[in-house]
């Protein structure tokens, strides 16, 4: 049997295992983001949204919908990989893979695919939930799908890098709490950056999540604060950067080999 056939089997095994892991505990992995997003829609969309009025010419509940879905995709694709990878390190069952004839690239792709799968599964569940609160339908469905895939890929890789460096469960939650959440909230989920003063508007452009949310919003609503082409290029650029970092760390054995 060829090496590549063996690698494919190993990749499929890691991916399947990762999907089973979050699917088995769906009450902890799929349901909470659905409830959270439903609450956002209820409070910010229906209760407060009416008083806010329109944003970028859209009803407020419609405006926030893509950002809320994107938030769920980001946090879940990240959380899936960081918790699974660090859990495997903590309980030492990562050694099952390390002693096996699997290239690091296959390990990386397997974990990344697991993160993408959870991001997409939660994204779908949250999208279906949002349809109870808005009548928005995707204007550019393929772009929605593409941005969702690219974003979950990017944050699955970011979660993997966090998992590689993590030495304790605290390290698993530090980045999501102190970096990811502020970037998501300041990435234009709830507002258009046109509302910000010039300085903060320029600063916002350094936030990669702004590009994802706006690309996603364009896919759903056909409006965006920034051009879609450069936005997609930024996302792909970040994916390539994080991919290279994650591969380098795995090849060096950082955090996994003494």
């Amino acid at each position: 049997m060829s090496r590549y056939r063996r690698y494919w089997i190993a990749y499929a095994t890691i991916t399947r295992r990762e999907i089973l892991r979050f699917a088995r505990i769906w009450v902890q992995t799929i349901v909470p983001p659905v409830i959270t997003v439903a609450l956002y829609f209820l409070i910010f969309g229906n209760l407060i949204g009416g008083r806010i009025g329109r944003m970028d010419g859209l009803p407020y509940v419609d405006f926030i919908m893509p950002g809320l879905i994107m938030m769920a995709i980001i946090t879940n694709s990240y959380a899936n990989v960081v918790s699974s990878f660090y859990g495997a390190k903590f309980a030492h069952h990562i050694e099952e893979m390390l002693v096996s004839p699997i290239p690091n690239l296959v390990i990386l792709l397997g974990y990344m695919s697991g993160g993408i799968a959870r991001g997409m599964a939660v994204g779908l569940a949250v999208t279906l939930t949002s349809m109870l609160f808005t009548e928005v339908r995707a204007e550019h469905a393929l772009l929605v799908l593409l941005v969702a895939l690219l974003t979950s890929t990017l944050f699955a890789l970011a979660g993997l890098i966090n998992g590689i460096f993590a030495k304790s469960f605290d390290d698993v939650s530090i980045i999501p709490t102190f970096v990811l959440t502020p970037l998501i909230y300041l990435g234009g989920i709830f507002y258009s950056i046109d509302l910000l003063p010039d300085f903060w508007q320029t600063l916002s452009l350094a936030n990669p999540i702004l590009y994802m949310i706006n690309s996603f919003r364009y896919g759903f609503l056909g409006v965006s604060d920034i051009d879609i082409g450069p936005a997609l290029a930024v996302i792909v650029g970040f994916i390539l950067l994080l991919f290279a970092i994650a591969m380098t760390l795995l090849n060096r054995g950082t955090g996994i080999r003494t």
Binding site: A10, T13, A91, E95, E96, T258
Partner: protein, 311 residues
């Protein structure tokens, strides 16, 4: 071809600790080989490097001719490892742990299913196949790790303290199983604290201490080096004063009913009994004070090998 070749292997950890100071080791194909050493001697580091969990500082390791740094994929494909500590996902069912390992090794799913059933039946875990690993007893967990290590039919199996904490009956059945696997052609490298096991199972032994191999020879050659064994004897009647020596045998009184006697080569146990009989001492029972391999270890390294009782 050698199953394992290690040349001038060094490992210095980031904290400066030199765990290996130039190890040379060759294990022939088909051998049942023992690697012994006290805690901290370097055997876990050595096994860690062979199994790619620890990065070497310098030196060369080849598994069936494939160097672990030049072609790690080929090298690792020959290898199965049963580690000392449990290292599986305790929330996964037994059959899934084994099937996943088969997948990591690139074994096609149909073969994985067949082999999983075969291994679980052979290791008496078939009834537990759908049970989460955390619900297994200690002995079952050990057998699970053995099944997992064998799913891809490795040519070299490394057993790192595989029977630690396993009861005697189960230990025997595990060793019978290992012997069978070895007879079928799998090379086995064993580290154990149960020195009797190493003595009974392994044809060759290497002793490692302070990151260096202090001896590497056939078991019977090594044991032949022992020129004296100490026996503990239980006397039927209370012991009176004992002479310090009777003929070639040194005697020590331990308590009213117990004495120790040194039995130098080439004298036999019969001669010792005869000499004690001459002193009017009737012996009810006796035992070897220490395992022969342990005694050899003490002689070579100047310190006792930690056993499970005193480790």
């Amino acid at each position: 071809m050698n199953a394992l070749e290690i040349h001038d292997l060094h490992k210095t950890y980031a904290n400066g600790h030199q765990a290996l100071r130039g190890i040379d080791l060759e294990v022939e194909q088909g051998e049942f080989f023992a690697l012994l050493g006290p805690n901290g001697a370097g055997k876990s580091t050595c096994i860690g490097i062979v199994s790619s969990l620890v990065r070497k500082t310098s030196g060369e390791v080849r598994i069936f001719g494939d160097a672990i740094d030049r072609d790690p994929i080929a090298a690792k494909s020959h290898l199965g490892v049963v580690p000392q500590e449990f290292n599986f996902n305790i929330f996964e069912p037994v059959e899934e742990i084994i099937a996943n390992q088969g997948g990591y090794q690139g074994v096609p799913p149909r073969q994985v299913r067949q082999r999983t059933e075969q291994l679980l039946r052979e290791l008496d875990l078939w009834d537990k196949r759908r049970v989460q690993a955390r619900e297994l007893s200690g002995g079952m967990k050990r057998r699970l790790m053995i099944a997992r290590a064998l799913i891809h039919r490795p040519r070299l199996l490394i057993l790192d303290e595989p029977t630690a904490g396993v009861d005697i009956e189960l230990r025997r059945s595990m060793w019978d199983y290992m012997r069978r696997i070895n007879e079928q052609g799998t090379t086995i490298i064993l580290t154990t604290h149960y020195l009797e096991e190493a003595e009974q199972m392994c044809r060759r032994v290497a002793i490692i201490d302070h990151g260096r191999i202090v001896t590497n020879d056939r078991m019977k050659h090594l044991l032949r080096q022992l020129d004296c064994e100490t026996f503990v004897l239980n006397a039927r009647e209370p012991l009176g004063q004992l002479p310090p020596r009777i003929g070639p045998f040194a005697l020590r009184r331990i308590d009213e009913h117990t004495l120790e006697a040194d039995l130098p080569k080439p004298h036999s146990l019969n001669e010792l009994m005869h000499a004690l009989d001459g002193l009017g001492i009737a012996v009810d029972s006796l035992r070897n004070k220490s395992n022969r391999l342990e005694e050899l270890f003490l002689r070579l390294t100047g310190k006792p090998l930690e056993t499970e009782q005193n480790a």
